[in-house]
Amino acid sequence: MKRLFPILAMLTALMLVYALYQALVVAPTERTMGDVQRIFYYHVPSAWTAFLLFFVNLVASVGYLVKRNPKVDALALVSAEVGVVFCTVVLVTGPIWARPVWGIWWTWDVRLTSTLVLWLIYVSYLLLRRFSDSAQAPVLAAVLAVFGALDIPLVYFSIWFFRTQHPQPVIGGGGSIDPRMWRVLLINWMAFLCFALLMGWSRYRLESMRREVEEAQALESLLGDDRGPSAEIRNPKVAPNRSGQ
C-alpha cells in the first residue's frame, strides 16, 4: 500500500495538470459569459466531489451507529473533513463567477443558502469531533451527520423545487451543454476525485496514527500510575528506595 501511494500521487498530479489544460485551453469559450464560464470546470466537479464525500460520511456514520467500529468512525471523520474542503471551494468559486455574470457576489437564494447551511453543518460536525472530550462524541457526531445529510438532496433539488437565480444543473436539469464541455467537465471531475481519494487516504493514515499515539499515551500514563504511590500499596516491589540505600 505504501508503494501505491506515490504512484497514485504522481498520476493524480498529471491528471490535474491535464485537466487544467483542458479547462483553460481545449474547452470552447462560452458565447455569452466568455472565459469566466471556465470556472464551471472547477466549481461543478468540486460540488459533485463534496456531495459524494458527504454521502460516504452518511454511510459510514450509519455504519458506526450500527457496528461501533472505530475504523468506520475514522472513515466518517475523514470524508467529512475532505468534503468540507471541497465545499469551501464551491462556496468561494461560486461568488467569484457570480460577480461578473450576475453583478453581485452573493444572493440569499435557496441553492446558495442551502449550500452554505450544508457547509456549516459539516463544520459543526468537525468542531464537535475536535473539541468534545466525551466518549460519546463519535455517536453524537454520527447522529448529527445523519440529520445533516438531509440537506444534500435539498441543495441538489432546490433548483427544481424553488425559483432560483442559480443556473440549471448539468445532469437532468433541462439545460444543454456542448459535448466538448461535457468531456472537459468529466476529465476535471475524474482528476478531482483522484485528488480527493489521495487527500482522504493521507488523512485516514493520519487519523490511524493519531489514535495509535493516543492509545500509547494512555498506556504510558497507566504504566506511570503503576510506578506511583498507589502501585506501592498494591506491589511493594515497585516502591522506590526513598532512603537512598
Partner: protein, 42 residues
C-alpha cells in the same frame, strides 16, 4: 467585461484552499511523529 481576472482568481483560490489543507495535514503529521518518537524514548 474583464472576466479573465475572475477566472484566474477562482482557480488560484481553489489551489490556495487545497494547498492550505495539505499544509495542515503535513503539520499534523510532523507533530504526531514527534509525539510518537517522544513516547518511544520514554
Amino acid at each position: 467585461m474583464n472576466s479573465i481576472k475572475f477566472l484566474y482568481a477562482a482557480y488560484a483560490a481553489t489551489w490556495t484552499i487545497h494547498l492550505l489543507y495539505i499544509g495542515s495535514l503535513v503539520r499534523r503529521y510532523r507533530r504526531l511523529k514527534q509525539e510518537l518518537s517522544e513516547l518511544k524514548q520514554k
